[in-house]
């Protein structure tokens, strides 16, 4: 069935079109919406696009970085200032998918995809959205919890604070196919160090629940401690708490629960 495509010059006009039509979906890089259309998803009757330059802007000069929702993973990889995000960007798709897929779209990618969002969740990113109520900033965790109810809003950009060192932010994606494949599990850890203690630990997990989630028990095990073997072991053994993994072709829920602590231990101890 043919759909109506509406292209707007500004993001706010596109947001207006989205909020007034429940069957409208925003088309970014196409890897989610075109896929749904190819599968014959009849719930989409209108495709909304915006040619607004603001959506493809990267601001990576200062301590706080902002990525327009339409920034592709290939552009993240081409930006030297965004080195801390290169590992998650590189872990997505092959080159064609990285030339197309966007930071904003990844927020809506369901498991076994959405790896970049795992990194953003660990980095406590803020998502700027525009809806019929105007624009506002939402903490990424709150955004993800309400993700299925986000129809009618348009993501404008994502911002986060740059980690203070390369050691302070770590990322690991477990896939069966190398170098490309869907996620069995994905882990990201932000470990700011104050003195020699961890202050403000955030651990994010992908494919361990219907959306990307934080491993709060593991965070508590790390908080205020130095990153020694005993602390790492405590965090690893708490990794499954609060998770609700599921079975799919890439791995069973049981397998995911078995390996998440192992990979968290390796991530925290800096092992390959």
């Amino acid at each position: 069935m043919a759909v109506t495509v509406k292209t707007f010059a500004s993001a706010s006009e596109a947001a207006g079109a989205l909020s007034s039509d429940r069957s409208a979906r925003y088309l970014g890089g196409g890897t989610l919406v075109m896929r749904a259309l190819n599968e014959g998803d009849v719930s989409i009757s209108t495709v909304v696009r915006a040619s607004d330059q603001a959506l493809t802007r990267i601001d990576a000069s200062g301590p706080r970085i902002t990525l327009g929702a339409g920034v592709t993973f290939a552009r993240v990889l081409a930006e030297r200032e965004l080195g801390f995000l290169h590992a998650p960007a590189r872990s997505i798709g092959g080159p064609a998918v990285r030339n197309m897929g966007t930071v904003g779209g990844n927020l809506f990618a369901q498991s076994p995809y959405g790896d970049f969002t795992v990194a953003l969740l660990a980095l406590d990113a803020t998502v700027a959205v525009q809806g019929s109520f105007g624009s506002r900033d939402i903490p990424i965790e709150e955004f993800l919890q309400a993700r299925e109810r986000q129809t009618g809003t348009l993501v404008l950009s994502v911002s986060c604070t740059r980690p203070t060192s390369t050691e302070a932010f770590r990322y690991r994606k477990i896939a069966r196919i190398k170098p490309k494949g869907g996620s069995v599990i994905t882990l990201a850890a932000h470990l700011p160090i104050s003195g020699d203690r961890i202050a403000g630990a955030r651990i994010a997990l992908g494919s361990m629940a219907p959306t990307q989630i934080r491993a709060r028990a593991a965070e508590r095990a790390l908080e205020g401690r130095s990153l020694d073997a005993a602390t790492i072991a405590a965090a690893a053994s708490a990794a499954t708490e609060g998770t609700s993994p599921y079975d799919n072709a890439l791995g069973s829920a049981w397998y995911r629960r078995e390996i998440v602590g192992v990979h968290l231990r390796r991530l925290l101890s800096g092992q390959e």
């Binding site: 043919a2 109506t4 890897t31 075109m34 896929r35 599968e39 696009r49 092959g94 080159p95 030339n99």
Partner: protein, 158 residues
């Protein structure tokens, strides 16, 4: 529903077609222009056999909304050969037995061209990364990697 007029360059030639809203570029190329070289595989971005170059950049045509390529330049495998002669990559694929059933070959060749256009002498790891979005169920990839490397450095295949 009214058709949408669309103009772009296809292998160096200007084309003008009318598409239905929501038509993907793969359907536009195959059914409206008659270029059957990009293949339909999964329709999901998982297999890479529909790969084409848009302004020199590797894209999946099945996930590209046709009307977004207005005014842009599309290259497909159909435009790769040089007159009556095969492109060096096509020659190397034949010499290295890099095609068996051949269904992945159009996408593999476009992914390889995207790599070599940007990086004429890639390492083996860079070749593997460049074709990582393209699935081949026949060859086990080694002949394909060797064919690309053979063109890249004029190196003999292993």
């Amino acid at each position: 529903m009214s058709k949408i007029p669309l103009q772009f360059r296809h292998n160096g030639r200007d084309v003008a077609i009318f598409v239905d809203g929501g038509t993907n570029l793969l359907v536009a190329l195959r059914e409206l222009i008659g270029d059957m070289t990009p293949k339909f595989g999964c329709g999901q971005g998982g297999c890479g056999t529909c790969s084409v170059l848009i302004d020199g950049e590797l894209h999946l045509s099945c996930l590209t909304l046709a009307e977004t390529v207005t005014g842009r330049s599309i290259e497909t495998l159909d435009g790769m050969k040089q007159g009556p002669n095969l492109h060096p990559l096509q020659r190397a694929f034949a010499d290295n037995f890099a095609a068996q059933c051949g269904y992945c070959t159009p996408g593999m060749l476009m992914a390889a061209k995207a790599l070599l256009d940007r990086n004429p002498s890639p390492s083996r790891d860079e070749v593997i990364e460049a074709i990582s979005g393209n699935i081949c169920r026949c060859t086990g990839y080694e002949p394909i990697i060797n064919a690309i490397l053979a063109v890249a450095g004029g190196r003999a295949s292993a």
